[in-house]
């Protein structure tokens, strides 16, 4: 009787139980790697490394101070937040200028914005390291948002909201 009970118990732990335990382990791994799985399902294409160069004109110096290397930016596409990339280095800045006409002779000259303790305007250029796909000359950052040269987009970091004009999109070799 006891022997039969023993055999019976041995039979209950079988291949099906092993499969179920394996499924449990796979689910735990799936939860742990859910982000990568989401990207895989979403894009279906391999994301490649790109550099997006941009410029901003007449930016206040206090804002420029927040544009440092490795600052991460994102953009908003509808209800989605899409990672745009990180600054490859501190942005380069120069005194902001504008073309104006002299009142006496009408000559067009380049004039610098005056700098005082309150307001200090700068023209800024920078580059963002990002990932995207290129399909029939359409670049999609993170495989999601279509971006083009000369496009003006609003981007966000933890501390800054900024409008940039894209001046170049290059694939990193």
């Amino acid at each position: 009787m006891e022997k039969e009970k023993k055999v019976g118990i041995r039979r209950r732990f079988n291949v099906l139980d092993a499969v179920l335990i394996l499924l449990a382990v796979l689910c735990i791994v799936g939860v742990w790697q859910r982000k990568n799985l989401q990207e895989l399902f979403a894009s279906g294409e391999t994301l490649e490394e790109y550099t997006i160069t941009f410029e901003v004109r007449e930016l206040r110096s206090t804002t420029v101070d927040l544009l440092t290397k490795d600052t991460a930016f994102y953009l908003v596409d509808g209800e989605d937040t899409v990672a745009l990339g990180t600054l490859t280095e501190n942005v380069s800045a120069s005194a902001a200028t504008v073309y104006l006409q002299k009142p006496d002779d009408g000559e067009t000259v380049e004039a610098v914005y005056p700098q005082d303790e309150y307001d200090y305007r700068l023209d800024v250029k920078g580059a963002l390291a990002c990932r995207g796909t290129l399909h029939e000359e359409h670049f999609h950052v993170e495989g999601k948002v279509h971006l083009t040269v000369n496009q003006v987009i609003r981007i966000y970091s933890e501390k800054v909201d900024l409008e940039i004009r894209i001046t170049g999109i290059e694939r990193v070799e």
């Binding site: 859910r34 399902f41 004039a111 933890e158 900024l162």
Partner: protein
């Protein structure tokens, strides 16, 4: 002891025989084995439940915008930020006071308390280039015009305990706080539109 035994045997009493194999001592081993098997089944059952729950969570996370794991926890941080209002009627500046509660008109969120108020003459850029000999020959600066004292540029510093989320930044209730953002702010007895020009933790 042996004598006692013999005595009872002589008296016709039968002492229970010790069982061999599955006797009392072996029987507790059997019970222990049974118990360990029971734990094994419990473990399998628990793993089954975990597997089903995890499968449901993964499916919900992957197939819907709703993430049951949360996109990160908010951390509370004290920050001060400065908003600049330009072209403010100087007679209305007294409507603002340190300690005033600040509300964002768009979201209705309370986004801090005024901690400092400063003002300076309201100056605008013109379309006229002005030669600046100090900077060099043929160097021009953009001309400026300073409005009469009736108009000022106001900078208001606001303190708030904001929710911080890594990668996304700061928000007070539903209002994002960031340098470069434009706001329409309501104070107890004043409303104005301006932009955030600085932030500090």
């Amino acid at each position: 002891m042996n004598h006692e035994k013999n005595d009872s045997a002589l008296q016709g009493e039968q002492t229970p025989r010790r069982k061999r194999g599955f006797g009392k001592q072996p029987s507790s081993d059997h019970e222990k084995k049974d118990q360990s098997r029971r734990w094994l089944f419990w473990t399998v059952d628990i793993l089954l439940v975990v597997a089903i729950v995890a499968a449901v969570l993964v499916a919900v996370s992957l197939l819907t915008p709703f993430s049951l794991f949360g996109s990160g926890e908010d951390e509370l941080r004290s920050i001060t930020y400065t908003v600049e209002f330009v072209g403010v009627d100087s007679e209305q500046v007294s409507q603002l006071k340190v300690g005033d509660t600040v509300t964002d008109v768009k979201t209705g969120s309370v986004i801090g308390t005024v901690s400092a108020i400063n003002n300076r003459p309201y100056e605008v850029y013109t379309d006229t280039p002005i030669p600046d000999k100090e900077l060099g020959e043929d160097v021009y600066v953009v001309g400026t015009y300073t409005y009469p004292d009736s108009y000022v540029t106001l900078t208001v510093t606001i303190s708030v305990t904001a929710e911080y989320r890594a990668g996304l930044g700061y928000s007070a209730e539903d209002c994002r706080i960031a340098v470069g953002s434009e706001y329409e702010l309501r104070f107890p007895s004043y409303t104005a539109s301006g932009s955030c020009i600085g932030m500090r933790e």
